[in-house]
């Protein structure tokens, strides 16, 4: 579903990504972790072309992201993305947040989009909040809406960039629960997170990044059992004893 092949990226003369290679098969859940500044956000943003790459190639569902002929907006419409800071549209009501993409990008009718939006709100347990504005909701609620917004586009895969790291601890689980449910339904997911509980529960593989390189790319059991690299071992012991 997602193929990342020998990807390198520079910001000016600073190399953020070096020769990154990994694949995510349909229905697979891959957790990406690593220390701050290691390039996790950059890598995940390259997957739907929010950041350009200078070397290598990335394909989603067989479509090359870095091919100038690719209709990027069309491809992105099918790749759901959830951000660390939610990024709901603050000037729109919750239901409008869920319908705008359906109407403007997919060309659905207002009624159809509204109905689908309400169904998704129900699913994330926020049906009663449809007419509120993002600013009136807690972080956990906003992030659930953000997941619903991504789902409103009927994505073929989902990208998450630290979806719970900006949340108060008591709200983390309500968001993780939605993600676990998605994973169980067979959604293809690439998740940047340090929630190792989530990784143990649903991940198929764990990718560990350090200084722009993929240092470890292993099955979950292998990663948590005995990571090969010393950096990953140190990192794991640090966050597990936190």
């Amino acid at each position: 579903m997602i193929e990342i092949n020998k990807v390198s990226k520079w910001y000016g003369s600073f190399q953020v990504l070096t020769d990154c290679t990994t694949q995510i098969a349909k229905g697979e859940v891959v957790v990406v972790c690593g220390p701050s500044g290691s390039g996790k956000s950059t890598l995940i943003k390259c997957v739907n072309g929010l950041e350009p790459i200078q070397q290598g190639n990335i394909a989603v569902n067989g479509t090359a992201i870095n091919d100038p002929k690719t209709d990027l907006p069309k491809l992105r419409a099918r790749v759901g993305m959830v951000f660390q800071h939610f990024e709901l549209f603050p000037h729109m009501s919750i239901i409008k947040n869920l319908s705008i993409g359906q109407v403007k990008v997919l060309g659905r009718s207002e009624d159809e989009a509204h109905a689908k939006g309400m169904k998704l709100l129900e699913r994330v347990g926020l049906k009663a909040h449809a007419n509120k504005y993002p600013g009136e909701m807690s972080g956990g609620q906003q992030q659930r809406v953000a997941i619903a917004r991504a789902l409103s586009m009927d994505p073929i895969c989902m990208l998450f960039d630290e979806p719970t790291s900006a949340l108060d601890p008591e709200m983390i689980n309500e968001v993780l629960d939605v993600m676990v449910e998605l994973a169980h339904e067979g959604m293809t997911m690439m998740v940047v997170t340090h929630e190792m509980g989530f990784a143990r529960k649903v991940a198929n593989r764990v990718v560990f990044m350090d200084q722009g390189k993929i240092v470890e790319d292993a099955a979950k059991e292998e990663f948590f059992g005995q990571p090969r690299s010393e950096r990953a071992q140190q990192f794991l012991s640090k966050i597990l004893h936190h």
């Binding site: 943003k45 739907n48 929010l50 907006p73 069309k74 491809l75 992105r76 419409a77 099918r78 790749v79 759901g80 993305m81 951000f83 800071h85 990024e87 709901l88 549209f89 603050p90 000037h91 705008i100 993409g101 403007k104 990008v105 997919l106 600013g135 917004r149 991504a150 586009m153």
Partner: protein
């Protein structure tokens, strides 16, 4: 001293003054609408990162912001007939001049407004498949506009005051109407005072509105 004044001239001159005020308001509304639209395009061009568009926009904005408005009004009025061969009415000429001039100021306000919206919002628009123009139109510009509303309005108050400069090319605005009636009835001082009061009343109410908006925006944030 006020015993020499005869404010009885005001009711007599009202219909004519009203016509002048209408033109001043129309000029303000046109220059505001056109200026904000053109200014927003200039701001987008400047922020686009494109070398050609960025340079043109920056040059336009910086140049117009460095020339006195009165000179632009005069130039435009006297130069256009040289190029087109036929004079353009003072009223129409002023409308175009003000729109082009104010665009430079609105451009800077909109640029600050666009930059006040977080980069993540652009990514959020793109991530659900929106194009550049959709993202700007539905996500970024509404927020930029809302954040900058008090500043845009303040600029519009200044614009309304500046419309009195069209007096220099003989367009019949509020000030010109006051001058003409003042001459006709031989009561120039009374009429200048009256027009000042009208300018004041309008600008003062608008600035009260700005104050109110500032408070409301502080609450939303």
């Amino acid at each position: 001293m006020f015993s020499n004044f005869d404010f009885g001239v005001i009711p007599l001159s009202l219909p004519f003054i009203w016509q002048g005020l209408l033109y001043s308001l129309k000029l303000t509304a046109t220059a505001m609408t056109g200026g904000i639209i053109l200014g927003t395009l200039l701001a987008l061009a400047r922020l686009s990162g494109g070398v050609v568009l960025g340079t043109i926009s920056t040059f336009y904005v910086n140049t117009l912001r460095s020339i006195p408005l009165l000179m632009v009004i005069l130039w435009f009025f006297f130069l256009i007939p040289i190029f087109t061969g036929s004079p353009m009415g003072a009223e129409k000429s002023a409308m175009i001049t003000f729109t082009l001039f104010e665009a430079a100021f609105y451009a800077e306000i909109m640029r600050a407004g666009i930059q006040s919206v977080s980069r993540g919002q652009i990514n959020a628009g793109y991530a659900i498949g929106m194009t550049y123009w959709q993202t700007m139109g539905h996500v970024i510009l509404p927020q930029a506009f809302r954040n900058m509303l008090p500043v845009l309005l303040t600029q519009t108050i200044i614009l309304f005051q500046d419309t009195s400069l069209v007096y220099a090319i003989g367009a019949k605005d509020l000030l010109k109407a006051a001058e003409i009636t003042g001459k006709n009835y031989n009561r120039p001082v009374e009429m200048y005072i009256f027009s000042a009061v009208v300018y004041f009343a309008i600008c003062f109410s608008l600035s009260m509105l700005v104050k109110h908006l500032n408070k409301r925006i502080a609450i939303i944030r």
